[in-house]
Structures are given as C-alpha cells and as structure tokens.
C-alpha cells in the first residue's frame, strides 16, 4: 500500500512540474469571486456572462478563473488571496461584502489590480464599479403607473440596503410623475435567493390586490407567478421574458461585459488605473429588455424617458426629492442628489406608506 502511494505521489509531482512550466505563457490571468452559484440566473449569473464575454473577445490572450459561492465572511479574504497568489493580475470581486477583504489583499499585492463591485472604498490598485440600476427603476415606475389599473405596485425586496431602497424610491418618483396617487406594497423576503419564498411573496402581493409586481430578488419565480395570475411584472438582473412571455413589461439587465472587456484590455496594455465607475443606461452597464406587452403610447413614453435619461436631460433624483415627512431632502449635488446620497440612501420618499426596516 505504502509503495503504491509513494509511486502515485511521485508521478503526480512529476506531472505537475511538467504542466506548470508548459502553462507559463504570457497570458493575463483574470480572477473573479462570486457570491452565488454561477447558475443562479441572477446577480452572479450576469457576472459570469461578463466573464464569458471576456473570453470570447480576448480569446487566448487571457486566462480566467472564477470561485463561486464564496461566503462574505472569513472565506472571502482567502479566496481573493489565493487568486492573487496564483498569478491572477486582475481580480473582480463581485459583492459588497468583499470590500474590506479586497482592500486587505490588495495591500499585500500592490502589483495586482482589483475591481470591487458595489463598494465605496478604493486604493491605488483597487477600483470600484457598479450600475445605476435606479435609472431603470424610474422607467419601470412610469410604465407601472400607466399599466396598473388599481394604482398599486407590489414590490418584493431582498434586504434593505441602499441599492434596493434607492430602487424603490426611483420607482415611486417615476410612477408619481404619471399618477401622483400611486401606492406601493413592499414585502421583504430577507433572502436574495429562495425561489419558493419569492413565489409566495408574489402570490401574497397579488392576493392583496396589486396588479404589477416588481422584484429586487434574483430568481424568475415572481415573474412566473405574474404570468400564471395574468398580471404584469418586471424582470431583474437579466431578461426574463422566457418566464413571463405575457407578463414581462421590461427588465433591468445588468450588463457587465463591456466594462469587463475594457478593463481587461487596459490591464493588458499596462494602462489600468484605479477609478470609481458608476455607469447607467448611457454606458449600457444598465440595459432595458425590450418593452413588451404594453400599448404603443406606453412604449413610446418608456422609450422617450430612456432617451432622456441616456442624454442626461432627465435625472431620476432631481431636486427637490421629498422625504416621507414631506420635507425636501438636502440637495448636495446642486440640481440633483449627489452620488454619495444615492449610494447611501436609507429613507423612503413621500408616497411610500411603509417604514424602512431597521430604522
């Protein structure tokens, strides 16, 4: 037995040595750290789509590696460091909870570039990027106000973090521009990802009389409920038309691919720089799925709003933004709320008849 083991070990070692020297071509190694499984069809899946696009565009000039289902706690720092140690020179860390671990590892590997998604701490070799998803929410709010007969939007929230809160507010501001009396019912499911629970939440909303469903959770479960109940819904993260051919009005699509390709090219050319990238409809980091299942005038309105946001004519959080207490929010950005205010939003705007959890 011992002999077999030793023989096996030696053989393994010899092989490994061979394969390592063979694989040492001048490729840019790119690593990605994912929060969920690549097959979640939500947040992580869209990052995976971005990775595949990098491979497609840059081919054998790069080599990519991903680590999936990486817990945001003690495991993430190791996962990021393992990638850095194994020669990955550009590392995307794709969840907010990876912020501090990313910075810690970045300190140890000053020559490696890090891209952290949805965070706000940066360093020489750590840049941040995220999408202005609230821009899409505004358009959805307008469509919802037009399409809802009852004037009530059902909203399935995951966790009350600023991104989700600003999404609710953007929806309401958009909807109020059409129907000042629009109402919203919010259910927090306290998970990003539990199809059964998301479906239950959607049912509860429909049974309580909403006729449009919005979700800020990852799976297409709510879309399917909308389809089977004959009401409308909006997709999240990716185009979910397949799950609601008669229900989906449009969807917010997280489109990371162009950014990933661009940053990979910069890194290859030695031109990568740390920055704060927060792109929306204009740069196509946030995209709208085709406007479907709505009359032409609504479609026209949506298209025009999208064009107005893209051209910069319309800002979603244009001052005055009125809080729940009826008082305008301090306007730090001159004409609009500034980015810091939007990124840290923890209050509802006027018209939301609910309380932000934890406040």
């Amino acid at each position: 037995m011992r002999k077999i083991l030793i023989a096996a070990t030696t053989a393994a070692l010899t092989f490994a040595a061979g394969s390592l020297s063979a694989g040492a071509a001048e490729k840019l190694k790119i690593g990605l750290v994912y929060l969920g499984p690549v097959g979640d069809f939500g947040w992580t899946y869209q990052h995976e789509v971005g990775r595949r696009e990098m491979v497609k565009v840059l081919g054998d000039k790069i080599e990519t590696t991903y680590l999936e289902n990486v817990n945001e706690g003690p495991d993430s720092e190791r996962a990021i460091e393992q990638l850095a140690r194994t020669g990955h020179k550009l590392i995307f860390t794709t969840s907010f909870g990876y912020m501090d671990p990313t910075l810690k590892v970045a300190k140890k590997f000053p020559k490696t570039f890090f891209e952290h998604s949805t965070g706000f701490k940066r360093a020489e070799n750590v840049g941040t990027y995220s999408g202005r998803f609230y821009e899409g929410r505004y358009i959805q709010g307008q469509i919802a106000a037009k399409m809802s007969k009852k004037g009530v939007i059902g909203y399935i929230g995951s966790f009350p973090i600023p991104e989700v809160i600003s999404g609710i507010n953007a929806t309401m501001i958009g909807a109020q521009s059409i129907n000042p009396d629009i109402k919203v019912k919010i259910i927090w499911v306290n998970t990003w990802f539990d199809p059964g629970k998301e479906a239950d939440a959607a049912k509860a909303l429909v049974d309580q009389g909403v006729d449009i469903i919005m979700q800020h959770t990852d799976s297409p479960a709510a879309m399917q409920i909308a389809e089977s109940r004959g009401i409308y819904a909006f997709g999240q993260d990716s185009d979910m038309i397949k799950f609601g051919p008669k229900a989906q009005l449009t969807a917010i699509v997280n489109n990371w691919a162009p950014y990933y390709v661009q940053q990979a090219k910069l890194a290859m050319d030695g031109k990568w720089k740390s920055g704060d990238t927060w792109q929306g409809l204009k740069d196509k980091m946030v995209m709208m799925a085709p406007y479907t299942n709505m009359p032409d005038d609504v479609k026209k309105l949506a298209t025009e709003t999208e064009a107005a946001i893209t051209s910069g004519k319309l800002h979603v959080f244009k001052c005055p933004v009125v809080g729940q207490d009826g008082k305008p929010i301090e306007c730090k950005g001159g004409q609009n709320l500034d980015d810091g205010q939007i990124l840290s939003m923890n209050y509802y705007v006027k018209g939301v008849d609910d309380k932000v959890p934890g406040k």
Partner: protein, 306 residues
C-alpha cells in the same frame, strides 16, 4: 377569490414539499434510522425531476425521475449505514454535501430554462364552488398525493402487521432480530422509501411550485422537513398539522408585511420558526412526557450477530 381562500391555497402549495419529504423521513426514522441527508436528497430530486420533465415534456416522467434520484441517494446511505455500520449522522450530512454538489453539476445545463407546471385538477361545477372549490378540487396531483401518502403511512404503521414490525424494529432492534425479523432488510426499505419521498418532495419544487431549476433551490427545506418529523413526535397526523402550521405562518407573515404593519421584517421572517418552537412547547407540556415519542433505537447502529 377571497383573501382567506387565496391564503389557504398558498399555504397548501408551500407546505406540500415539506410534507412529502417529512412523511418519508418519518417512516425512515420509525424504522430506527436517522437520515440527515434529506436536503441533499431533495435537491437531487429537484434537479433530476426537472431534467426528466425538461427532456420528455412530461411532468409524470419528471416526478418519477425525482423519486428515482431520491431512491438512488438513499441507497448509498443505506449501504453505508446499514451495510457498513457507518455513523448515521455523519453519513447523512455527507449525503447532503454530495447531493448539493451533484445537483449543481446536473443543473448547470438548465440555467434559464423553464418547463410547464404540473396541471391543476379541474372538475366541472365542483372546482367552481365558492371558497372550497379551488381548495378541495383545484389542486395539482402532488398536493393530493401528499395527503394520500400521509394517510397511507398512518394506515401502514398502525393498521398493518408490516407496519407493526417496522415500528418494532425502530423501537428495539435487538428484540426484533431475536424474534427473527430481518432488521437490516426492513430498515433498508424504510430508508429507500424515505429517499423516494424526499426526491418527490424536491421534484415538487421545479415541477409545480416554481417551474424552473436553480441550484440550491431547496433553500433549507430539507432541514425544516427533518424538524417537522420531530415536531410531529413521529406521528403522521401531527405531521400534517406541523407542515401546514409552518406553511401558514410563512405565508401570513408575507401578507402582514404587504399590509404594512411596520414590524421589522426580520421578526416577521423569524415567526415560522418561533411559532413552531412555541407550539412544540405547548403540546409537549400538555403531554407531559419527555422524549418518549422517539423510536428507541433511532440512530443506533445495528449489526446482527451471526
């Protein structure tokens, strides 16, 4: 459709996978085997169930595939714990790791795919009855199946000789063996039955509940099923009550949020768990017996002398 009717319908849909998986585990545990791998068997049932339905277009084939997946998983477990006398707790947990991994590999090809859900019963006149119509006569086959399953299990355990033997094996395997009953064979069948039910319970998710597969979609339901067996103190009737209680509180807290009561959502989400504990304390207290309901040989290794 009235709100109460709608809530009951949602509760039935949410509770059925729990009931199916828990019913199988109940039989397994009644035979004296503790299989903690329910989550792993369920997620495999979900993956294989979806695969079967996706390729054939038949939800019946899907359900059968789910059952077979559960049986296959539990066969591994049975071979280890009964054939090789491996510790049941550790083997069950390892089974869950294996199931989660395998289902992910199987499901990798189905991202973004969907199937048609299991049809719901529709009977002329009856289904259209006010209030009770949809609840009693408008469900899918798996909902009726889960009820029938529990009734069948009750009948089997308490009204048949085979059931009596199974309970005897679970309560005292040494005596049962001395009386000449094939303890390991009976336990093997009980484990396989548990696997079949867990597989079907898992398959219910992509076949009826949310007709698509996503890795990890069981989201801990296997653990809840295990807890429900304990909650039911190994009695089929109480299992139904437990599963529906859990489902009901889950659904009601969502409705309470939609109605905007302003209670922290974390507290609302915790309600089903707290309610289960509370009810268990109340019923345990009125019963006044401590832990006596559990099959006495539960989780113990048995190797017959030869």
């Amino acid at each position: 459709m009235g709100l109460l009717e709608a809530i009951i319908l949602a509760v039935l849909a949410a509770s059925t996978p729990l009931l199916l998986a828990a019913a199988g585990e109940l039989v397994t545990e009644r035979a004296g085997v503790l299989n903690l791998g329910v989550e792993g068997m369920m997620i495999m049932g979900a993956a294989c169930g979806f695969a079967g339905a996706y390729f054939t277009g038949s939800t019946i084939v899907g359900a059968v595939c789910g059952i077979l997946a559960g049986v296959g998983m539990s066969a591994v477990f049975a071979w280890l714990t009964l054939g090789l006398a491996v510790n049941q707790v550790a083997a069950g947990l390892a089974l869950t790791i294996l199931g989660v991994g395998m289902s992910g590999l199987i499901g990798a090809g189905f991202v973004g795919e969907r199937i048609t859900a299991v049809p719901q019963l529709w009977l002329p006149v009856l289904t259209d009855l006010p209030f009770v119509g949809r609840i009693l006569f408008g469900q899918n086959a798996l909902v009726y199946g889960s009820i029938a399953l529990v009734i069948g299990i009750w009948y089997f355990l308490y009204r048949t000789r085979a059931g009596l033997v199974l309970r005897a094996v679970g309560d005292n395997h040494a005596s049962a063996h001395a009386l000449g009953y094939p303890v390991l064979t009976i336990r093997t069948f009980a484990v396989l039955f548990g696997g079949a039910c867990a597989g079907l319970g898992g398959a219910y998710l992509p076949l009826a509940y949310t007709p698509f597969f996503i890795s990890g979609m069981t989201a801990g339901r296997g653990w809840i099923a295990l807890a429900l067996v304990v909650f039911a103190s190994w009695m089929p009737g109480r299992l139904v009550a437990g599963a529906y209680l859990f489902g009901a509180v889950t659904i009601l807290q969502l409705h309470a949020q939609g109605a905007g009561f302003g209670i922290p959502s974390q507290l609302m989400t915790a309600l089903p768990y707290l309610a289960t504990i509370l009810v268990l304390i109340v019923i345990s207290r009125t019963r006044g017996t401590i832990g006596s309901a559990a099959p006495a040989s539960l989780g113990l290794v048995f190797v017959p002398d030869r």
